[in-house]
Symmetry: C2
Subunit: 146 residues, 2 copies
Amino acid sequence: MSDACDFRGLLERHQVRVTPLRLAVLEALGSASRAFRVREILAHIRRRRRVHKVTVYRILEDFSQRGFVRKIPVEGKAARFELACEHHPPHPHFQCRACGEVECLEPVPLEQVWQELRGPLGHRADRLEIRVAGLCRRCRRARGEP
Amino acid sequence: MSDACDFRGLLERHQVRVTPLRLAVLEALGSASRAFRVREILAHIRRRRRVHKVTVYRILEDFSQRGFVRKIPVEGKAARFELACEHHPPHPHFQCRACGEVECLEPVPLEQVWQELRGPLGHRADRLEIRVAGLCRRCRRARGEP
DNA sequence: AATTTTTTTCAACCAAGTTGCAAAATATCA
DNA sequence: TGATATTTTGCAACTTGGTTGAAAAAAATT
Ligand SMILES: [Mn+2]
Ligand SMILES: [Mn+2]
Ligand SMILES: [Zn+2]
Ligand SMILES: [Zn+2]
């Protein structure tokens, strides 16, 4: 789980003032190698201190703008957030249709897809997201399927 | 766009009773080759008759379950819906970061990506979604960029 | 026609996310 | 140092998208 990341340094490098809350948000995101709901981040932080949800929303918004946090749209209403620093390059995600959980997958080479997509596009495209949907192992077993 | 689709037949083939509202939802979805917000579908239908939003939500939910409508998660809280009949095979989508608009892109071959993704996955994956993000032409021009 | 089943509506609710502004904390400068 | 400006956080109130349960309306079945 990315103990490798130096959060303090990350903030400084991006010219963002280091505050306890900003650090706490990064630590929450770094606490597991997956994408978190805001409410999970809040819960994580609140084990140690008090925060207001607005603050966390604003911090996450700011970090995504600056590009060192990724906001991942998924099925259902709560978006997910994950670290996007050097240690966490873009990668596809799997989402279970039944329980809604999101799992990070290994990066896949996308040059080919990019090529097909970028060419004919009149837009400036700068990000490619892949989402795989299906039934996760747990949910499949819970239904008695092999 | 897609006058080719026989909505009445589509419903019958899927053993869904044909009702004016269900037809109206399909017609709204078929009215342009793009993915719609629920509120857009509502507006479209309301030009001719009255509907309650709950009904449309339930119809869309039902249709997506049955697989002839696709629900597309995007950035922002309102999901998009589009036809998923024979005439509308799966394809990537482009979403503008500035205005939020979603545009359908031409299908791309994904065997390669599927292969990489399906193999190591302990899950039953049955759907692969691609979302390209960036700045659309209009928004780019509006900012004075070439 | 009477009964059952399906479809649509209504009212009330919930959760995620946003807004404007005040309070607190932190930085800057006299 | 203390006074002032700036940044960060918190609070309350709100908006938007979507959901729930049960009643009313419509349609199918007998
Ligand atoms: Mn991830
Ligand atoms: Mn589409
Ligand atoms: Zn699952
Ligand atoms: Zn745009």
